[in-house]
Subunit: 432 residues, 2 copies
């Protein structure tokens, strides 16, 4: 069995052109291959089991192979209801639900297969609607090279995109320098490192300059509440929303929501599997289960329980490890060697973590899983607090947090004052 796994993992590296962001077995320096998953647990081909806090980069919100969802999909297939040639009723039901949740007047919904595609669609629609080209962006919007920054601060890349790194002062400067040229401000809200007032300032500046705003809610939408995450912190609305991860428990779907007028250009968008029913049905079943069972409240509760426990655990160990966030959270380390050892030992104890990025909880991480998780994390700190006792009492610095947060939100966190942010930004943009 071991040999088989190694062989397959080598094959994987040999044949796949794209394979980043999946868990690596640090002891064999190879990607882990999973045979099955159930709730909070994943199993490899050697019989090893893991509690998964990567959760498909936050797209597994119900848990792996949710029995209710899988039963619905199976029954759907049994009834021959998978259609690709044209629409079935559930697509109308899903679009109406999302439209209603958006609370935008006369909104339309365009579906795509990935968040990357929906974010591109937002840009095209806004450019067509406004007749302008420049896009001001903060946060991650997918793999497309249109988002790559190569030049100096506030310099547009060759696709006309300028990063403002969630810094309201930079947004203000960019809007002033490119007056009457900005089609859209697109940003991915974060609630771990950005305060409500920063998010409100960003929206307020956009309103003052009269530019369209799109909330890239791929990561946060339908995770904390039914609909956009923005409403947790502000009564201000965006003009456009992109949703994906919270919708469908890992199936390939995303959408762009905005008013009829702004969305005119998306009538040109089409692709072969547009009407394919399984992702639509997965979304409907996921949203229904989350809403019916108070899923959003439960995930928040599980997040606070876990991160509260972890904070206590790390405090007891006196190791420099910080826990930021709750249902989406990040670990920050005061020492690079400690960080590397932590992820290594976590894997050893059967914890799948999204290294350097955010961990995320699912609806099936209830009390039994919590107990099991804490047991595994305790094993990790037991090993490390002996091995790294020279670090006991050391603190995580604000700069370390800023740098680690950057990995998660692809921008500056507002923990630091503006001048300090700018200085660190210089290193991070220059250094990659």
């Amino acid at each position: 069995m071991k040999q088989d796994m190694v062989e397959n993992s080598e094959k994987l590296l040999a044949v796949l052109g794209t394979h980043i962001d999946s868990p690596v077995n640090p002891f064999r320096n190879e990607r882990v291959m999973f045979s099955r998953g159930s709730g909070a647990y994943l199993f490899d081909y050697d019989g090893g089991n893991y509690i998964d806090l990567m959760n498909g980069k936050g797209s597994i919100i119900l848990g792996h192979n949710d029995p209710h969802l899988n039963a619905a999909l199976r029954s759907f297939l049994e009834q021959d209801r998978e259609i690709v040639t044209g629409p079935s009723k559930p697509i109308v039901e899903l679009a109406e639900r999302i439209r209603k949740d958006s609370a935008l007047p006369d909104a339309k919904v365009s579906f795509y297969a990935t968040g990357t595609a929906a974010c591109r669609a937002a840009v095209y629609a806004a450019r067509d609607y406004s007749g302008k080209k420049i896009v001001l962006s903060s946060g991650y919007h997918g793999w497309d090279p249109m988002w790559r920054q190569q030049g100096a601060l506030l310099e547009p890349n060759e696709d006309g995109v300028i990063e403002f790194y969630f810094i309201p002062e930079l947004l203000e400067r960019a809007l002033t320098e490119h007056k009457d040229q900005v089609a859209l401000v697109l940003f991915s809200p974060d609630y771990t490192y950005l305060s409500a007032s920063t998010i409100e300032r960003i929206l307020g500046i956009c309103r003052a300059h009269g530019v369209l705003v799109c909330c890239d809610d791929v990561k946060q939408g339908y995770r904390h509440r039914q609909g956009s995450s923005l409403e947790m912190v502000t009564a201000e609305k965006a003009d456009m929303y992109v949703f994906s991860k919270g919708l469908s428990n890992g199936h390939r779907i995303s959408c762009l929501v905005s008013t009829d007028e702004i969305m005119a250009e998306t009538k040109e968008h089409t692709y072969t599997s547009y009407y394919q029913m399984l992702p639509i049905l997965s979304s409907l079943e996921t949203l229904k289960k989350m809403e019916a069972g108070k899923g959003y409240d439960l995930i928040r509760f599980y997040g606070h329980a876990l991160t509260g426990n972890l904070k206590e655990l790390f405090a007891q160990s006196a190791l420099p490890i910080e826990v930021n966030g709750s249902s989406i959270f990040q670990l920050v380390f005061g020492d690079e060697k400690l960080e590397e050892a932590f992820y290594r030992e976590a894997f050893n104890q059967g914890l799948i973590l999204f290294e350097g990025d955010n961990q995320s909880l699912s609806l099936c991480m209830d009390k039994d899983v919590q107990v099991d998780m804490i047991r595994r994390f305790t094993n990790v700190t037991d090993v490390l607090s002996e091995q790294y006792k020279h670090l006991r009492g050391k603190e995580v610095t604000a700069e370390q947090t800023f740098r680690t947060a950057w990995n998660m939100i692809d921008g500056a966190s507002d923990l630091l004052p503006y001048e300090k942010q700018l200085k660190l930004l210089d290193n991070l943009i220059g250094g990659g």
Copy 2:
């Protein structure tokens, strides 16, 4: 029931931002909603049944809800094998199969969710590899605005893309005018309107100029044979291939295949549902079934049987209707009113056709379905040959064929001499 359907179709138009290319009920001027599909047949919510020759724009190659495929998916779900956090063995199996079929030395395979994304990936990889920007393109490569042509003939659009409309002379001119600036020639081969020698000339010109060639095999790949369609007509190879429709019987998957060196840039590409297993499994099961059951031969056989019958039928009716192609075929009409009436009556007789574009056959269109199809088509011509008897004996002109072919291949067909092609091109590019 009727009322319900109308209401839902109106809702569909009201909420969906993107909804082109699905069948329209010409009598009520509304999109048809389908309740289920089985083999060659689709059923609406009123109990109406249709034989589907649109077949999800050619992506339904086994037939709707293929019992073998759906059983495999259900069993997979039952075994909790749907994973998104990381890879499972079937992704390796699929990548190896596609790599082997490509016969490219040391090829890598990058998976995407749509053909649009995989074609964009081909462009990025080629630009990164070559350090050049210009892309010469023929045929449809997805909804992305990067493919839109607005300027004059051979003028690059703002994304650096130049159309050559499958015309070897134009390709030669573009390569000469943009010497040392061309990253890639990307074209979607067609076997209805382009001769083998035209395809060989295109490949030969690329080789002579030493530029990379990508075969966009989204429509034709894994439809006529296992792997690229190019091998039907030439021993010449492309450097890169994009596959999609033939892979998975309608599930959301596509891939780019090329050598390790050329694919280096795709290591940056990632998206949330990258490892999602259902589309991978659907592909494996589809490919296995096609290969084991001589599926490619059977579809070719069914295509020739149907188009042969249709040619005879239209000849008997003496109406100006031409049938071009076989397992992918197109109807060409010698009169606009006749064309409109034909599609209207075809719907009335329970035939779903891809209006103006290509029809495509699936593996379940065996003798019983053939008999039923011909019966329905006969009903159509019976109605029309009475109504349009003034058109009897009229011929379809070469120009009509050229214009209709344009709708299907997004380029010029080589039925006409170069000078004539150029002249018609002028109208088509100007007139949209």
